[in-house]
Symmetry: C2
Subunit: 343 residues, 2 copies
């Protein structure tokens, strides 16, 4: 007990139990090949010794898993700080991983190329068993990459553009429709959507749905302007929109950070929310409830999405064919930032 003990190995257990290495392995993995009595004895010794399998040794065997999955977030570092989405996602993923004792490798990259390179490295170095991909882009090269390596992958997004990869998608169109109908019912005629960058599949999908829904309720033109999810861009864009002579009476933002920034700008410019301007955020978070007035938002359970994606990935890693699934759709949470025009 005095000095530093070497980490116990199955060989130590084997010696203590007076059996061979192989027998210990069978016993510990619940496989046939040892008597029930011997198994119990071996398990007892393993517990006493505080043994845990070396993940590296286990992974080395043919067909061995490393017991880790990867997630890469490719957003400018400064924008990322505030976005609650990813942390919620990570929490959800880890709930699932905790069950199997797997781990999450997280990487934050500055550009798309670095992200691709990171997947390549992870595969080549055998760092992960699979990955969850977020922020699917139009003609996303990651889809082909995952197939080519091959690296088990689940896409959070789609289903358009996910190709053969299993994906977990959300029917954003339905939510957009709900938002537009809601705002129209409040009497809004000039609704502008402040979206994320062009490249993302979900941006494009939402834009199309926004146009369709606007047509349904008889709005002349459904204008979508693009920003980059950062508070700065959200503020700048909002400032420009509110400076127009015919300024919009409702703004729909593609994330919570831009919506909060927009609210700040409205306040700064003396535009009353919701009296003169209604604001809707996408992806609810405590951030939306922190500000005053609290923001009406399209809420979905991001952690649950992460959990489900992790579950699907585990299946894919297990070699089973995984079917794409739809998540519960985002639901409109009306709060203080939306209402009819005052006066």
């Amino acid at each position: 007990m005095g000095g530093l003990m070497r980490r116990p190995t199955i060989m130590d257990i084997a010696k203590a139990a007076g059996v061979s290495k192989g027998a210990v392995s069978y016993a510990l993995n619940g496989r046939p090949g040892v008597s029930e009595e011997t198994r119990k004895r071996i398990l007892g010794i393993a517990r006493d010794l505080g043994w845990a399998p070396s993940s590296t040794a286990r992974a080395l065997s043919p067909g061995g898993r490393v017991g880790a999955i990867g997630l890469i977030i490719d957003r400018p570092a400064h924008s990322l700080g505030v976005e609650p989405f990813f942390m919620q996602l990570v929490s959800g993923i880890e709930m699932e991983l905790a069950i199997t004792g797997s781990d999450l490798l997280l990487q934050v990259t500055e550009d798309h190329e670095a992200e691709i390179g990171a997947y390549r490295r992870w595969f080549a170095e055998r760092r992960v068993d699979g990955v969850i991909m977020v922020d699917l882009r139009v003609d996303d090269p990651r889809v082909a990459l995952a197939e080519a390596l091959p690296l088990p992958a689940v896409v959070l997004g789609g289903p358009h553009g996910a190709g053969p990869l299993p994906c977990l998608y959300t029917d954003d169109a339905a939510s957009i429709r709900e938002v537009v109908h809601y705002l129209a019912a409040l009497g809004h005629q000039r609704i502008v959507r402040v979206a994320g960058p062009h490249g993302f599949v979900h941006t494009r999908d939402r834009t199309r749905a926004f146009e369709a829904a606007s047509a349904e309720v008889g709005l002349a033109d459904a204008v979508t302007v693009h920003a980059d999810y950062t508070g700065e861009a959200g503020a700048r864009t909002t400032r420009r929109l509110l400076a127009r002579t015919e300024r919009p009476t409702a703004l729909v933002y593609d994330n919570d950070v831009m919506a909060v920034a927009g609210l700040g700008v409205a306040r700064e410019m003396g535009v009353d929310v919701p009296g003169q301007l209604s604001i809707v955020a996408w992806d609810d978070s405590t951030l939306c409830r922190l500000v005053h007035p609290p923001l009406t938002a399209v809420a979905r359970d991001v952690a649950a999405c992460g959990r489900e994606a992790a579950r699907m990935l585990a299946e894919a890693i297990g070699g089973r064919a995984v079917r794409s699934r739809e998540t519960a759709r985002g639901e409109l949470q009306p709060r203080g930032s939306t209402g009819p025009l005052a006066g």
Copy 2:
């Protein structure tokens, strides 16, 4: 080229080069034992084959490193979503890891016991070479644990309570002092600090510094109330404070999330900021600039802290003795949320 290629190993390289496994290993690791000519040839073949070392195999060798470090965040999942601090920290850590090609294992736990268990598992399973510990507590059991396992660790915080572990600490006392003097100079007499939970070392350190600084400028009692870093708690606490008959004229929050929530409450209760109430946030983030008025904050470069901590950990893993270091201290960023009382 047709079918699925097996991942190339050094054995494949050895065959192609007509040398032994060992020679290839020497060549790839830049060690003596092969001629410069042979080395070049081997490196060329390795590149052509797209070879990368299997991290699991490499880690298995005696003295081998797994090439990964761990970070555990022990905060309630819902609070965590919004807190920009951790994401900035992660970005910083990864800047450093990118240099050596190491990876980050991130875990989010619900309680302190789970965190301890995760370190144990990581060590036993040989998942990480070392860890960065945040949110140091008074009499933190993690300090003894890291020594006992032994698991290389760097503490972000301290230096009190970090014991023998190297730590990267910030002189919060100086910043607190700056804040108190600044507010006193603006004429504030009733300053209340909305702090994090009792258990944290930095909470205690700041409380002491707050009391000392208040005495310096002749404030009767320096009141600190405790919350849990969440927006909800920040809002609740602020509501209670502003409802007092002799309500505070300045509030200093221990994180940005509570400060933003506090601003929302002030607005909701019709208390003008900064006319009737000044607000100071700790740990600046874009969140503070998003709201209106933008929050005066104590800013420090969190990403740089993460980077430095990762650097220190790399040294510790390398077996060198690491000296604790001090970071640049937080600097007060005066913005719109602070000023003299109006009227």
